[in-house]
């Protein structure tokens, strides 16, 4: 048991480290090094512009999407080399946020199901940050039950005509392409009538509208489709096979190991170490210590769980399902920590101004944003179902709509 690299890994790390040292945009180091819970913003620059420049540089040095094959813009790196790269890229990895959905989900789906022409045309650009992709799955009436989606795609000659609405599309407003799942046959049970496509987000009939979120910010979008034409050559997988294609997309996302999720623990530890209460420092209060300790061991537990997964990768094994716990644990923890941080501030906890003396409203923002952590990318409940069914082998829920044609299934709500 050790934390050491193998000689090959050490050599790879050295190469990566030297390249980052020589090429990283150091002018943003201080800003990026600051703890950030949620989306990253730069004071003077647009994160998309800075991100694109960094991604382009990485592509020139063969470090972009390095786990992809060389002919599609990658480096042909092994999974463990990808992890080592992420560690060496460090805080500069935050600049890749606009490309994560493309790199993690859309790209691998195109790679698995796209035509050779589509792969050669799009993947190198995607890797180099020249094309940003978004993912168009969720709908107002199809969140956790994404297979219940309504957006229709109808075949007209060699094209498909799409009508409907997607929601929670991050980055839709700056994306060039989108991965779209739509219903092509409403007369069969819901999972069987879906087909996957990709489309140019500048196509006529595509309208992107930002969503004003519960935390007051606008990070996600609704995307409306009105008679949007998609050529059949942009279909991914067979007609009616969209559901299994989407599972590939989601599976790829779960394979990305080593990306650390924010837990709020270091911020909370620092906060409690400096906050003076009536009877002394918060961190000297037994109730505070008990809570901090419980959060700290969850956070370290997640860290060492990811180390176990990295070790499995290093040995050429597929990591186990332990990694499915990351978002479940960190999402709940962020919310709990934020709530308690406000509690410790007493009546002043209600104030959210950036000029407030106590940590400039950091935990207030965290409180308001944290509900999304427990919903986006699989709700806590869906994640528990995944653990129960795929890890523990418990039976799936009894599905009353399983064999019912889609157009006979009752729906309500959004």
């Amino acid at each position: 048991m050790n934390f050491d690299d193998t000689p090959q890994e050490a050599a790879f790390r050295e190469t990566a480290r030297k390249w980052v040292e020589a090429n990283a945009p150091k002018e943003f180091l201080a800003e990026l090094s600051k703890s950030s819970l949620g989306r990253i913003r730069l004071a003077q620059h647009d994160i998309v512009d800075v991100g694109k420049a960094w991604q382009k540089k990485k592509a020139e040095g063969n470090w972009a999407c390095l786990h992809w094959p060389k002919e599609y813009g990658g480096r042909g790196a092994t999974p463990i080399e990808r992890v080592i790269w992420q560690q060496e890229e460090g805080v500069y990895g935050k600049l890749t946020q606009p490309f994560q959905i493309g790199e993690g989900m859309c790209g691998p789906t195109v790679m698995a199901f796209g035509s050779e022409d589509a792969k050669r045309r799009h993947l190198p650009k995607l890797a180099a940050g020249e094309e940003i992709w978004c993912q168009l799955f969720s709908e107002p009436s199809a969140g956790s039950d994404v297979a219940g989606l309504r957006t229709r795609a109808e075949k007209k000659g060699d094209n498909w005509v799409v009508n409907g609405q997607k929601i929670w599309t991050s980055g839709a407003h700056y994306s060039d392409y989108g991965l779209l799942i739509a219903r092509t046959d409403p007369n069969v049970p819901k999972h069987k009538g879906l087909t996957m496509f990709f489309l140019d987000m500048k196509s006529p009939g595509v309208e992107v509208r930002p969503i004003k979120q519960a935390n007051g910010m606008q990070e996600f979008n609704e995307v409306y489709f009105t008679d949007v034409v998609i050529p059949d050559s942009q279909r991914l997988g067979a007609i009616g096979e969209g559901w299994s294609v989407s599972l590939t997309t989601l599976m790829n996302e779960r394979m990305s190991i080593g990306s650390r999720l924010a837990t709020g623990v270091p911020e909370m530890f620092e906060f409690c170490s400096n906050l003076m209460l009536e009877d002394g420092l918060a961190i000297d209060d037994p109730a505070v210590r008990s809570k901090l300790a419980s959060w700290a061991v969850k956070s370290s537990g997640l860290k060492y769980t990811s180390y176990r997964a990295i070790s499995a990768l290093s040995k050429g094994e597929r990591p186990g399902p332990e990694n499915s716990i990351g978002k479940l644990v960190s999402g709940m923890m962020l919310q709990d920590i934020a709530t308690y941080a406000l509690d410790l501030q007493g009546a002043a906890g209600v104030l959210t101004g950036a000029d407030e003396e106590i940590v400039q409203g950091q935990f207030q923002q965290m409180l308001l944003s944290s509900p999304s952590m427990r919903i986006a990318g699989g709700t806590d409940e869906i994640l528990r179902n995944i653990i129960a069914e795929r890890v523990l082998g418990l039976p799936g829920d009894i599905r009353v709509d399983k064999d019912v044609p889609y157009n006979n299934i009752p729906t309500k709500g959004r």
Binding site: Y307, R384, I387, P395
Partner: protein
């Protein structure tokens, strides 16, 4: 990175599991639970023959000379099997105290006896309520003679010798405490068995009356040695706890698959599935924290104090959580004496206290994290 046990260590774990599945069935545990024997003597003998008791004891002192990682994988299986033997008191506490601070003569005398299964031993630290603290040590030592009462002493009623924490000063500092070793068969002690939460691991009260004792380690070094012993034991107990957590989770999962109610497997209800998923989360976090503790223990890393506290807290929480919810998944049957659920519930809650309570270790963790942050 190879943050995992080696193939040899995993093989040892499989070997221990196979041995314990055969020799330590729930039925065997019940013999001790029902008070028909103070501990499982046959199992103890078998553990010695397998070389498990001395796995981390150097060959010079009669052990297998493997190491702490090997001891961790065995500990996990001991916890999984709910083994009714004085393993933790003898191997994690007494043997480790001697390994850290014993003289060559003391090691030569006692460690081979531990490895061969001839000597059961324990650490006599607590004196009534309270957590590990120099302040709570009232038993006195003067001129090698002990006077005072220790309670509870794990496995005290069956132990052959004990490492005893005693007060040798009154400055109010850690240096007031020294350690001694007492042959409990030599007189000067009165031993009384106590009733306890987990009858598969006995507790005793030991009264020392003008009892002759030999010092272990330098005078005044007792607390510093004890702190190291408790850290090591925290990691080793964490492995027992994650073994127990996994077993309780499996029992709950198996029952949820087997039991039909409302015309379906109860494991198909989300209320039950989510309870089991949460148990899995706790057990996984605890396992990962414990692996880090094992690494720190086996390399004697500077991180050991923090890693040990984190492993202790995480594994205590996980075992309590899994044992409690295992009963809940079983419903009414889980609350019968006949089903095994309560054995894990008892063990989980007893283990949560044995080295000091959860709140004590939470306190320790925060202190140690602050120390690290300050450095």
């Amino acid at each position: 990175m190879n943050f995992d046990f080696s193939d040899d260590q995993k093989q040892l774990r499989d070997q221990a599991r196979k041995f314990l599945t055969e020799k330590c069935s729930p039925k065997a545990v019940r013999t001790v639970l029902d008070g028909k024997a103070p501990y499982d003597k046959e199992l103890w003998k078998g553990l010695a023959e397998m070389g498990f008791l001395g796995v981390a004891i150097p060959e010079d002192f009669g052990g297998a000379g493997a190491g702490h990682l090997e001891l961790c994988v065995i500990a996990e299986e001991m916890g999984r099997a709910n083994a009714p033997v004085p393993f933790s008191s003898t191997v994690y506490l007494a043997a480790e105290a001697l390994l850290i601070a014993g003289s060559d003569a003391q090691k030569k005398k006692w460690l081979p006896a531990i490895a061969s299964g001839e000597a059961i031993s324990t650490l006599a630290l607590f004196e009534g309520k309270g957590n590990p603290s120099p302040k709570n040590v009232k038993l006195t030592a003067a001129n090698g003679v002990l006077n005072g009462v220790k309670k509870p002493v794990a496995d005290g009623a069956i132990a052959d010798f004990a490492v005893v924490a005693a007060r040798t000063g009154s400055s109010g500092r850690d240096g007031d405490i020294s350690l001694f070793i007492v042959d409990l068969k030599d007189g000067g002690v009165e031993v009384k068995g106590l009733t306890t939460l987990d009858p598969t691991r006995g507790q005793a009260e030991i009264t020392f009356k003008d009892c002759r004792a030999e010092p272990v380690g330098a005078p005044g070094e007792g607390w510093s040695i004890l702190t190291q012993v408790l850290d090591r034991a925290a990691v080793l107990c964490a492995f027992e706890q994650i073994g127990g957590s996994d077993r309780a989770l499996e029992m709950g999962r198996d029952y949820a698959l087997d039991r039909i109610a409302f015309g379906r497997q109860i494991g198909s209800f989300q209320a039950v599935k989510h309870m089991l998923a949460d148990m899995y989360v706790s057990a996984t976090l605890a396992r990962s924290n414990s692996y880090y503790g094992a690494w720190a223990l086996s390399t004697n890393a500077a991180e050991l104090p923090e890693a040990a506290a984190a492993a202790r807290i995480s594994a205590t929480q996980a075992f309590q959580h899994c044992a409690k919810n295992n009963i809940q998944v079983h419903g009414g049957m889980g609350f019968t004496w006949e089903f095994d659920c309560h054995m894990y519930y008892r063990r989980a809650n007893a283990m949560a206290l044995g080295l000091g309570s959860l709140s004590y270790w939470e306190d320790q963790l925060i202190d140690r994290m602050r120390k690290k942050n300050a450095a």
